[in-house]
């Protein structure tokens, strides 16, 4: 079915497969995708682009998660204390609180 969506872009016929091969680079190049001729005539690829843009937008909602429990810092302190000298070469016996 791919070839059914073939259309013209810059005087050349572009199929869905060709458009989708270009898509990763188009996304990352800063290219304005809505200007792509192929999208004006191919609802399948237009839907794909809409979805991928939507997913990338929604991904921003995923931060932040919550903090680790206080036990993590306590364990780090303990391990550092057991390690002894600081790697910088300066001994520091002051516990980190």
């Amino acid at each position: 079915m791919i070839e059914k969506h073939a259309n013209l872009q810059n005087g050349k016929t572009m199929t869905c497969a060709e458009f989708q091969d270009k898509l990763p680079e188009l996304f990352e190049s800063g290219h304005e995708l809505s200007n792509e001729q192929h999208l004006k005539t191919c609802e399948t690829c237009a839907a794909l682009v809409r979805d991928l843009e939507y997913i990338a937008q929604q991904a921003k909602l995923l931060l932040p998660l919550h903090d680790p429990s206080p036990a993590v810092w306590e364990n780090i302190q303990s391990a550092i204390h057991n390690d002894g000298d600081h790697p910088a070469g300066k001994s520091n016996d002051t516990p980190i609180k």
Partner: protein
């Protein structure tokens, strides 16, 4: 034919999530000299992001906390080697990513090998026949649904997606962190989004069938 009624901002134009932090440079310098309070400050500033990365990659609180601990212990041991060639958060993230990958490899997940995971694969590539036009996402994907879908991504895809789309790192930074090419990072990100689309659409179809 229109491409749709809404036009979200192009995906590359997202905000960076690691802007400069006031006092961080001084804290780094003091921590490098062995000041424990400054190291604690660095922990406070970065614990959430490191833990989030670990939790998203492992999906398990106990393991994520263990690896957060390990990442900061490595930071403590290696902070003297930080030269400021990249942002501190990027440097720390690279260190954390390595801790996560080492852990996943130890668990024996073959797909976690970066060389394999980040190698473009024809099998996992975008499908050219996207399907019928009614298979578009509804535009109502909430955070929980997306989190769940991200959990189901293969680890390599998940890592690049989290670093780029969630955390806002650029491909050159990700390539540096993962020791892969920029093209590889771009390719993996695209595959991750394609896979997420598939997972989210499958979820929508299941919901509508109930």
């Amino acid at each position: 034919m229109s491409t749709g009624q809404t036009h979200p901002k192009p995906v590359h134009q997202h905000m960076r999530r690691n802007p400069p932090i006031a006092g961080e440079a001084e804290a780094i310098a003091r921590a490098q000299a062995g000041d424990p309070r400054s190291f604690e400050m660095l922990y406070s500033l970065h614990k959430r992001r490191v833990y989030s990365l670990c939790l998203r990659m492992l999906g398990n609180v106990a393991e994520a906390e263990d690896l957060t601990q390990e990442a900061f212990l490595q930071l403590y041991r290696k902070i003297g080697t930080f030269r400021g060639d990249s942002a501190f958060s990027t440097w720390l993230h690279r260190l954390s990513v390595n801790v996560v990958l080492m852990h996943l490899r130890k668990k024996g997940l073959p797909q976690v090998s970066l060389e394999e995971t980040l190698e473009p694969s024809q099998d996992d590539g975008p499908r050219k026949d996207i399907g019928a036009r009614d298979l578009t996402l509804s535009g109502s994907i909430d955070r929980v649904t997306l989190e769940r879908a991200v959990e189901n991504l293969p680890p390599g895809y998940r890592l690049v997606f989290i670093l780029h789309d969630v955390e806002g790192y650029e491909h050159n930074e990700i390539a540096d962190m993962l020791a892969c090419s920029i093209g590889n990072s771009k390719s993996q990100l695209h595959k991750a989004r394609m896979k997420l689309r598939e997972l989210l659409r499958t979820g929508e179809r299941k919901e509508s069938a109930v």
